[in-house]
Symmetry: C2
Subunit: 346 residues, 2 copies
């Protein structure tokens, strides 16, 4: 029996508990041992839930239990999630997370700490929800020198843009619809201003080039001032408007990072990425263009990515390939991406 | 220094030697040890090539050299490639391959042999060329019960279909063009009749459900009798014609396997897969639809997939997850896919 703990029992956390239950037999067969969710840390109590007896409010119980081998952090926000992750790694436990804010802010430090302690820090769910992209970049595309990454990484804005295009909705109406359906939060700033996508492209850039840049390094333009006329004008010229995050290694060795509404040629795979789906295109020296597509958010897809990380952490206990060594990206490593607002993506 | 051997020094084999040279520093950093191509088995001599001194004609030299840890088989055809692979595994060497015919015919036996000998048998390059799909199915989507796989898995037919659609070419003219450009072989039967795609879907189905079926289990229809009128009629109704391979687990537990020209709704990611690109869509119980897209063939993309397998074989020396245990699929496990010729893919 291998014990794990979940931090946060919201949408993703409860999804992880479900997937581990549903796939108990598979996981046992794969790891040769059963995986049990021993503790769930949450501020709430969840009376009547089948997981009620495992809820704890004191993180010390988890930290001090030597049987807990993996901590899955799905709390959201940087604090205290980052501190809890640090403490778990210090205690010799692997940490897996769906929390892009922590990875984008503290990933370099947490990966280094994991390496020192001989455990793992994994974050497949932090970019692209259910789409496998972090592990493929680490393992499958490892033989490539990556030159460029282009992604539709935010489902909320993609849903809004699809609505504006297909139904002629205005931005405020499409946003209201997204909020009604639960795709957008009450405060949609992080999504519509592009900061969510910016954090995700920072993580992918770090995987590609070993440097984690601060959020300010991404030239970020959101979709708030986009009009129906913009979308219609693009359509009439054979383009679809998408919020695209890009990271590119230029000939001078510098990195250009951007998030901006772009015109994407219709009929391409990126242009066909609609609604809550996400896509990431990676250009490598050996493989050429590779693209990963799937559900960028949602309870089960995101939970599935967390579970794949739990399995990985238990299988490869102290794996630390080069893609998981990140230095600090500084201003001198960055080049301007230029004015990309509504420019054509190639 | 870790020694490996290449079997076959054609397009893919020479690509593997190149990628290993170009990425020497990366591989050394990743594995903590340099990887050297010690032998290259080929019938030819390659005088003047920088690899000339490593060419051998006697496979015994490779088999009997205990320093050779991984054998990369890129010979094509089932014999003697399968026998050579078996002998290497028996000798305790891991084998990686780009050879779909061997995997589709003998994969179950070779995986079992690898497991018994505590080594690896890996075949990322056998399906989808440079697209990561075998390892993602084994590692990233492991927590899913897979229900359906749909793929555009043959670049030659996809190139021909793109030509017929975009330029109004007839099938014979488009085929001739593909042959002129080196995308189609002089005898294009395996491609245009759908057998190449059928072998690939057999491999993906085995990864999903643990059973390797014989080629006859795939209801295979090629594109030879497809006319421009078929393509135009589809286009006028909002579809693109693609040669699609599908594998589906039905409610009764049986597997339906097919390769057929299908109508794919325009604007979807699969419909946007053009020319020599391939795409594989996998539907899982947890993750929903995930799609992998990229170059399905070509020297460097395929070589890159082989190199990623070489790295994996050296990193996870005796890894044998459930996806790599294959039984024999029999007639009683199969259900008819029905008449799918030019039917709409959903």
């Amino acid at each position: 029996m291998t014990d794990i703990a979940l931090l946060g029992f919201g949408t993703v956390g409860s999804g992880v508990a479900e997937v581990i239950d549903d796939r108990r037999e598979y996981i046992k067969k794969r790891l040769g041992d059963e995986v049990r969710v021993k503790y769930i840390l949450d501020l709430r109590d969840f009376p009547g839930s089948r997981y009620e007896s495992r809820i704890v409010h004191d993180y010390g119980i988890i930290l001090n239990d030597p049987d807990v081998r993996v901590v899955a952090e799905m709390m959201g926000g940087v604090h205290p999630a980052a501190d809890f992750s640090r403490a778990a790694l210090e205690a010799g436990k692997s940490v897996v997370t769906s929390n892009k804010a922590v990875v984008a802010d503290c990933g370099a430090e947490l990966l280094e700490l994991a390496r020192k302690r001989g455990v793992r820090y994994l974050f497949e769910a932090s970019v692209g929800g259910g789409i496998p992209v972090v592990r493929p970049m680490t393992d499958d595309l490892a033989e490539n020198e990556i030159t460029k990454i282009s992604g539709i990484l935010n489902g909320t804005t993609n849903f809004i843009l699809s609505k504006m295009e297909s139904e002629g909705a205005s931005f405020p109406d499409a946003l209201a619809e997204a909020q009604r359906l639960g795709y957008a939060e009450a405060d949609p700033t992080a999504d519509v201003e592009g900061y969510d996508a910016a954090r995700k492209i920072l993580i992918l850039a770090a995987l590609a080039w070993g440097k984690l840049f601060p959020l300010e390094a991404v030239e970020t333009l959101g979709i708030r001032s986009l009009t129906r006329a913009d979308v219609e004008a693009a359509a009439s010229e054979g383009y679809r408007v998408k919020l695209v995050a890009t990271a590119e290694k230029l000939a001078n060795g510098k990195i250009a990072l951007s998030v901006s509404p772009r015109r994407v040629p219709s009929g391409t795979v990126l242009a066909s990425t609609d609604g809550v789906f996400n896509a990431v295109r990676i250009t490598g020296s050996v493989t050429g263009d590779v693209l990963f597509y799937g559900r960028g958010a949602g309870k089960l897809p995101t939970a599935g990515a967390v579970v794949s990380d739990i399995i990985d952490a238990l299988e490869r206990k102290s794996f630390a390939p080069p893609a998981l060594f990140w230095g600090k990206g500084t201003a001198s490593d960055v080049s301007s991406a230029g004015d990309l607002y509504l420019s054509v993506l190639d």
